[in-house]
């Protein structure tokens, strides 16, 4: 849906869009009234608990539930036998991840589940389930997993994307390639070429709310599910398929969601709760413990990457190559494709090639984490660029400006860019006072750019005009960061009625058409676009009602500031009718007034960000402190600027954690050593400075108001910006994340010799 004709979002006077009203769900969330995943109860509810493999790789010889079943209070037990094989190949890995079959593939893999009348009985029952394992050799490191002779996870895994296809199975699920030109040719023309190997550890989205759901399946086979998820339609369709239910018989309601960041875009406990409820004939609630969240939900990939870039002395990149190796846990599907597509997307390159390998290891199956794949790839590329800028004595922003992609540039992953805002962001960063501020002792400054695609996708919105002239806006994308406020703003703008007259709700799966998951930074773009269109649909109907009342043709009525008016003197002389007037008369003019819109939205404009970071390194301890941080990012058009800033700040903060502290630590035994917030340390309030933000607005030609998604781009540059700052502060190039005190201290000592 194109940008409105003659609308320049940078000069257009919006009435509501761009203001900062209070969010409609706000009072509930500051008073404790908001209902999240674990907050629901049902009469007769049982507690569900899941037994998990303590082994990273083991054949499951037998599961004996007889003793557990006899424990008073135990009402149902499910194992692999309760989940029939799926015919849908795309659901196979989901099913095998939900409940292990022949093999347990990682520490934490679900093996059985119990529903009991209390949590303590359920816990006791888990201990009575006897599982016999044949322990197998395991592998958790991506480079090790790629070696010939590595322990093999799937005996039938033949690398996809290789021609001719390999004859032997391996842990490499797929290979992908992107680019154009010939990097070797480019390197010949370079004055300087730098090639480096980088590694990043797996991190977790770290949402504060553990996965939780309440399932209830009746004896007629129809079910209800209350769940914290980013996509309740996905949950419905997946669970229905895995459990052999008609989609129409499962109604899923999305609770308030306590953070997701991509981690709540698949199912883990939901099919298990439904299966237990079906078997017990009672509602079953499952809430993951924090340890389960770490061991058995979907962290992001750990990576190993090689990047080689050549530049000439004038600062032009002559050639670029990257090989990305991402492990995505026990099943295929690491985000290496997105990493490979995005890693050079900021630059206008003649010769560029990226090769990616999707590798399986004995770790939990990864799930999306905010711009999946892009932050790690940007870390490698932007680190090499930083070094090259120093080599040719050029300002790092200047180097990026000399190579920045713009409208018409053929991207490294194929398509030509439409209107984009990278240059605007780079220039805004260079102008920012932060960039000129003096640095203290042991401090360094880092700069990095980042790119994210932004998604569109299937979206459905209804807008109901109520009898009193208020409006109920019905959307199907769970609100993960304030989107209901943004939707109300856009509806108010179109209808010309005050913001607080519009209330948005997230409807359950039986009340609205299908909506894709709230992911890919798609909600403000796609649901926004659908909201605007649904409002325009309602306006058309409102105008027709006014025309009917006045007895003039519908096209002789216009809508202005919340009123239907005759389009001009020829249309007749009538008192304008407000939305409220028309709502009141609805029953007599044709019945309820509602607007609808359904779309598979495309045109989600890509977006770019540039981050500035000042880091201080303690040379005695290796501790890194972030002293100053600035995010500059293109939002296209900021609908609710406070929540746009919030996305910028939140992405930066997660990036800071990833860069300096957070990592999955596996022992030699293949078990996760730090499944808790004490040992997996996310940034706390006293770790961070204020995070400054600059909202750049380069309108997206694919949205009526020019909106671009903002949620994910903000986590793409931080790893690199911080690594560049730390490297500059410490005087040693850091190529491995996290830059935790022991790792940084060792690098400093090694550099000193």
């Amino acid at each position: 849906m194109p940008l409105d004709a003659n609308l320049d979002p940078r000069t257009h006077q919006f009435k509501y869009v761009g203001t900062r009203p209070l969010r409609p769900d706000g009072v509930d969330k500051v008073t404790g009234r908001a209902k999240f995943g674990a907050d629901a109860t049902a009469p007769g509810m049982l507690v569900g608990k899941i037994l998990r493999s303590p082994h990273p790789h083991a054949r499951i010889r037998s599961i004996n539930t007889a003793k557990a079943a006899k424990l008073p209070g135990v009402k149902a037990i499910v194992t692999r036998d309760d989940f029939p094989e799926t015919k849908d190949p795309s659901l196979k890995d989901v099913l095998y991840n939900v409940m292990a079959r022949e093999k347990a593939l990682y520490d934490g893999h679900a093996v059985a589940a119990v529903a009991a009348t209390s949590a303590s009985i359920a816990r006791k029952a888990l201990k009575l389930i006897e599982v016999k394992y044949d322990i197998l050799p395991h592998v958790t490191d991506v480079d090790e997993a790629m070696k010939p002779g590595a322990p093999l996870l799937h005996k039938d895994m033949i690398t996809d994307g290789v021609d001719p296809a390999p004859t032997k199975a391996s842990n490499i699920a797929a290979k992908c390639e992107f680019g154009h030109g010939d990097p070797e040719e480019g390197f010949k023309r370079a004055d300087h070429v730098i090639s480096r190997v980088f590694k990043t550890e797996a991190t977790h989205q770290g949402y504060i709310e553990p996965h939780a759901c309440l399932a209830s399946v009746g004896t007629d086979g129809s079910g209800e599910l209350w769940v914290c998820t980013q996509g309740h339609f996905m949950v419905r369709d997946t669970c229905a398929a895995l459990l052999g239910m008609d989609v129409s018989r499962l109604r899923v309601t999305a609770s308030e969601i306590g953070g997701g960041f991509g981690g709540k875009t698949t199912v883990f406990i939901e099919p298990v709760a439904l299966a237990l409820s079906r078997k017990a004939g009672k509602p079953v609630k499952i809430v993951m413990s924090r340890e389960e969240v770490f061991r058995a939900s979907g962290p992001t990939s750990s990576t190993s990457m090689t990047v080689k870039i050549g530049v000439n002395n004038a600062g032009r990149i002559t050639g670029a190559f990257a090989e990305l190796r991402f492990q995505g846990g026990a099943f295929a599907g690491s985000p290496v494709v997105l990493g490979a597509m995005s890693c050079f997307a900021c630059y206008d390159l003649e010769h560029v090639k990226v090769v990616g390998y999707d590798v399986v290891t004995n770790r939990p199956k990864q799930a999306a984490y905010r711009a999946p794949g892009a932050p790690m790839a940007a870390f490698a590329v932007e680190s090499v660029l930083d070094e090259l800028a120093q080599k040719i004595g050029m300002d790092p922003i200047e180097l990026r400006l000399k190579n920045a992609a713009k409208e018409g540039t053929k991207s490294s992953y194929g398509p030509k860019y439409n209107r984009i805002g990278l240059i605007d962001c780079l220039e805004a960063a260079r102008r920012h006072p932060h960039y000129k501020a003096p640095l203290g002792a042991n401090q360094g400054r880092g700069v990095a750019a980042g790119f994210w695609f932004n998604f569109g996708g299937q979206t459905c919105v209804s807008l109901n005009v109520n009898i009193d002239g208020t409006v109920a806006l019905v959307v199907g994308t769970p609100d993960i960061g304030g989107s209901r406020a943004s939707m109300c703003l856009m509806a108010a703008e179109e209808l010309g009625i005050p913001y607080d007259k519009v209330r948005a709700i997230v409807a359950d799966t039986s009340s609205l058409g299908y909506n894709d998951i709230s992911e890919g930074s798609r909600v403000t773009f796609s649901t926004g676009l659908a909201t605007i269109s649904a409002a325009r649909d309602a306006v058309t109907k409102l105008c027709a009602r006014a025309a009917k009342i006045w007895g003039i043709p519908a096209d002789a009525v216009v809508w202005e500031n919340g009123y239907a008016k005759p389009s001009g003197p020829n249309a007749g002389n009538f008192e304008p009718l407000s939305l409220q007037d028309l709502a009141k008369k609805a029953a007599k003019t044709g019945g309820p007034i509602a607007g609808h819109y359904e779309v598979n939205a495309d045109g989600a404009g890509v977006s770019f960000a540039v981050h500035l970071c000042d880091a201080e390194v303690d040379p005695e301890t290796g501790r890194v402190q972030i002293k100053r941080y600035t995010v500059v990012q293109d939002a296209g058009k900021a609908i609710h600027p406070s929540y746009v800033e919030g996305q910028y700040q939140g992405g930066a903060a997660q990036g800071i954690g990833w860069a300096v502290n957070e990592e999955y630590i596996y022992g030699k035994d293949g078990r996760l050593q730090n499944p808790g917030f004490l040992d997996y340390r996310v940034p706390v309030c006293s770790d961070l400075p204020m995070i400054d933000t600059v909202i750049v607005e380069v309108p997206n030609p694919g949205h009526p108001y020019g909106v671009r998604g903002v949620g994910e781009t903000s986590i793409v540059p931080p790893l690199a910006a911080i690594a560049n700052a730390v490297s500059n502060a410490a005087g040693v190039r850091m190529t491995q994340l996290p830059m935790s005190p022991p790792r940084l201290l060792k690098a400093i000592f090694d550099a000193k010799g």
Partner: protein, 158 residues
């Protein structure tokens, strides 16, 4: 398992409940008393989402036994507003967009309120350290700190 009877005060109201001896105060609040505003993010005292005050002191209710509430005074997020009148902290959290998902918000409000009661004019650094036991994964803390600063200023005006 035998249950213990506990008499306590919650948000100013006298409350009695039965609980198992190993049941946490958080579970009692959420599962027995229907006060689900306090959240469980970790059950190990690391995230602060379950913060309540016990005789005026901020505690992680996941690390306190229900039985320990006997004769004590507990305050939870549900008791911060005065009827339908929001506390300045609640107002400023909304005005400053200091929450995105909102799961950590109850804990932050409880901790911030306790801070401002003992220190009406905290520095940024004092706020950051006072709230270091509460994890927020959405905001990067910037808007939370600003909201607490603004609420403190408002409350000092009286």
């Amino acid at each position: 398992m035998a249950k213990v009877q506990v008499s306590t005060t919650i948000n100013g109201d006298a409350v009695s409940f039965l609980c198992e001896v190993d049941e946490t105060l958080l579970d009692v609040l959420r599962d027995r008393l229907g006060l689900t505003g306090s959240k469980e993010g970790c059950s190990t005292g690391d995230c602060g989402a379950c913060s309540v005050t016990l005789d005026g002191r901020v505690v992680c209710s996941c690390l306190v036994l229900g039985a320990e509430a006997e004769g004590r005074e507990i305050r939870t997020v549900e008791g911060i507003a005065d009827g339908d009148k929001l506390h300045p902290l609640q107002e400023k959290f909304l005005e400053f967009a200091a929450l995105q998902c909102g799961i950590c918000t109850p804990g932050f409000l409880v901790s911030s309120k306790a801070l401002l009661e003992r220190n009406p004019n905290p520095t940024e650094s004092e706020i950051r350290f006072a709230l270091a036991g509460n994890l927020c994964r959405c905001t990067g803390y910037d808007k939370i700190v600003r909201a607490v600063q603004a609420a403190a200023a408002e409350m000092r005006k009286g």
